[in-house]
């Protein structure tokens, strides 16, 4: 039995995380607290920084030495981290940023569930870049998704966001921790060439750079300025376009490997529910209740929010008469669903922002209404 936040800490350590920098903020603080116990015991580093900007910076600095690194926060801290998250995207430094969401804007509702940062996760930092953001609906999933976040970060050399919410973070439930040897753990690829021939940002077919850890004999430059293959700043328009396009393409071309979702009774569904995070729990219950009442509802439950599961939504849109999107915000993902469905079916949103969870009955009622 453990809290979602503890499962996150366990998942991080299982994934090989050996560095955590954070700044306390509800409802994420337990992640830092657990790691402050766990990391020193296994020779890892834990540091409480002076603010979230510093925590993000330290996380990136640590990762550049080859250590798997993570930070965790909630809405206001996530806002503060954005500039350095963009830096990690630009310099292609793998790391994991956990955001246990609360309601906003501003200090908002520190202790209540919300999902108001899903668009910030995609667009929160300035500039064009591809983004990977995962989510989880239970402590068990949080454990697994934390490992997956590290794996994707290391494979694609990018920051990965894990969006949890207050319900997932604070609910204590059963978690099965598999044998270490059965877990798939990915480590970043080492350079293919010796230092003399090394280009840190060499263009490769898979668009993924091989950054050598600092201190291993490969001396190169890392910058948030636009740079060329050498890692040094450039103003050459071809180099600029090449890098900025690659930062998006790097994620887009690997979408099939990254994007994942679950489907529940979608085959014969007339109403498709799109729900993620803790709301997906209510949605699973709602599907059962609907079916008992003779309503043909099904569920599309993405476990990756960015890149958006466009193909899965379009596929669902072709099958159902209407899509409903319950979420703890005022339609942030409903917008994306509408776009992905390409106007082929109506999309109804159910946004709850009063600090309470969306109940299964609320979803059932909406399904009844739209059918």
């Amino acid at each position: 039995m453990m809290q979602g936040n503890q499962a996150c800490a366990e998942g991080a350590v299982a994934a090989g995380c050996r560095f955590f920098a954070g700044y306390p903020i509800t409802p994420s603080s337990e992640i830092a607290e657990y790691l402050s116990i766990m990391l020193p015991r296994i020779g890892g580093r834990f540091i409480q920084m002076e603010d979230e900007i510093a925590a993000m910076g330290a996380t990136i600095g640590a990762s550049l030495t080859g250590v798997k690194a993570m930070t965790a926060t909630s809405g206001p801290g996530f806002s503060l981290k954005q500039e350095n998250i963009g830096y990690a995207s630009m310099a292609e430094v793998p790391c994991v940023v956990v955001n246990v969401m609360r309601g906003g804007p501003s200090t908002g509702t520190p202790t209540l569930p919300a999902q108001m940062d899903v668009q910030q996760a995609r667009w929160g930092s300035h500039g064009d870049r591809g983004v990977i953001a995962l989510t989880a609906k239970s402590a068990q999933e949080t454990f697994q998704q934390t490992i997956r976040a590290f794996n994707l970060a290391e494979r694609y050399m990018t920051p990965v966001i894990l969006l949890l919410d207050e319900i997932t973070g604070h609910t204590t439930e059963k978690v099965v921790i598999p044998e270490r040897s059965t877990l798939e753990i990915v480590d970043r690829a080492a350079p293919d060439e010796p230092p003399g021939e090394y280009l840190p940002y060499r263009l490769t077919d898979d668009c993924i750079p091989r950054l050598a850890p600092f201190g291993t004999g490969y001396r190169y430059n890392v910058t948030g300025l636009v740079h060329n293959e050498t890692g040094f700043p450039t103003n050459d328009s071809r180099d600029i376009a090449c890098l900025i396009e690659r930062l998006t393409k790097k994620i887009e071309m690997h979408e099939d490997d990254i994007v994942q979702w679950n489907e529940v009774m979608l085959d014969d569904a007339e109403v498709g529910i799109f729900a993620y995070g803790s709301v997906a729990r209510s949605a699973n219950a709602a599907v059962r209740l609907c079916r008992e009442a003779g309503l043909r509802a099904g569920l599309l439950e993405p476990t990756v929010l960015w890149p958006f599961p466009t193909k899965a939504v379009l596929e669902m849109a072709r099958r159902v008469k209407v899509i409903v999107v319950p979420e703890l915000n005022l339609g942030q993902m409903a917008r994306e669903v509408s776009l992905a469905a390409q106007c082929s079916v109506p999309v109804r949103r159910l946004g709850r922002v009063d600090g309470n969870p969306i109940t299964p009955q609320q979803i059932v009622d909406l399904v009844g209404e739209v059918l």
Partner: protein, 271 residues
């Protein structure tokens, strides 16, 4: 003649600094100090923020990390605590370290983490064209203080000492040999070591403050930088408009990464 080419990335020259800028003199003093200590380039990491001064690492053939404005110390803290055996040198400006990065500056000093920080103090935001910085003197002109600056300046070295740094020195680029010695001492010291380097920015500061000529700025440095010994013998009146150079603080304090390593030894359960 000292062989600077041994340590620089020749392909990145010519550098971006204006003629008459003092930043190159600091770079040279640093390279001489690094050479004297025989620091292994593979084990050295230079971290900087954003500004003219923060472009220094780009020219040095070590592991280099050019971060975001004000955040060099945060990134450097991550590098150093993840791999304490690395020599981590931070280059930052007066704006970078004491305006936007002020919080990281005092906390890195408080933690007394083993970083060597070269803070180029040119009293101005050079890179962005001469706006006020937290060290712009009262009455001096800046592009955002066209009628003279109203705010009192920070005493950067005093700030670092008060925050807990174990080594603090002030040098200047007119006295380049002495600067080299101060940097060398800072590199040798275990703990947060700051060298505040007073350096001219003729372009963004001098031009607005009747010192457009770089030579004039250097002469001004010559006339206002005072050694510790001399400072002691000066009256309050004589000290006006001048500043002390030398080692201002050198004390023994527990260093952060060593303390952390001790903690790990105590609580370790994985062997």
């Amino acid at each position: 003649m000292f062989d600077y080419l041994k340590y620089v990335r020749e392909e990145n020259f010519p550098h971006i600094w204006c003629s008459g800028c003092g930043d190159g003199i600091v770079l040279k003093a640093l390279l001489r100090a690094v050479d004297k200590l025989g620091i292994d380039r593979d084990e050295a990491v230079m971290v900087s923020g954003i500004g003219c001064s923060s472009r220094t690492p780009g020219y040095v053939d070590v592991n280099t990390l050019h971060t975001t404005h004000g955040r060099a110390l945060a990134f450097a803290t991550g590098v150093k605590s993840a791999k304490p055996h690395l020599t981590v040198i931070v280059v930052t400006g007066d704006g970078d370290a004491t305006a936007i990065g002020g919080n990281h500056f005092i906390h890195a000093a408080r933690r007394n983490i083993d970083l060597t920080v070269l803070l180029y103090n040119n009293y101005i935001y050079g890179m962005t064209g001469g706006q006020c910085s937290p060290t712009t003197p009262r009455g001096a002109r800046a592009s955002t203080a066209p009628f003279g600056n109203l705010e009192p300046p920070f005493n950067i070295s005093g700030l670092a000492i008060a925050a807990g740094a174990s080594f603090v020195a002030r040098g200047d680029v007119y006295n380049a040999k002495k600067l080299e010695t101060l940097i060398l001492k800072a590199l040798q010291k275990k703990g947060f070591s700051l060298v505040e380097v007073v350096t001219p920015c003729p372009t963004a500061y001098g031009r607005r403050n009747r010192m457009a000529n770089p030579v004039k700025m250097m002469e001004h440095l010559r006339d206002t930088a005072v050694s510790m010994e001399k400072w002691e013998s000066m009256s309050g009146e004589e000290r006006a408009g001048k500043f002390r150079t030398g080692v201002l603080c050198d004390v023994e304090r527990p260093e952060y990464t060593e303390e952390y390593a001790r903690l790990v030894e105590e609580v370790r359960t994985d062997r």
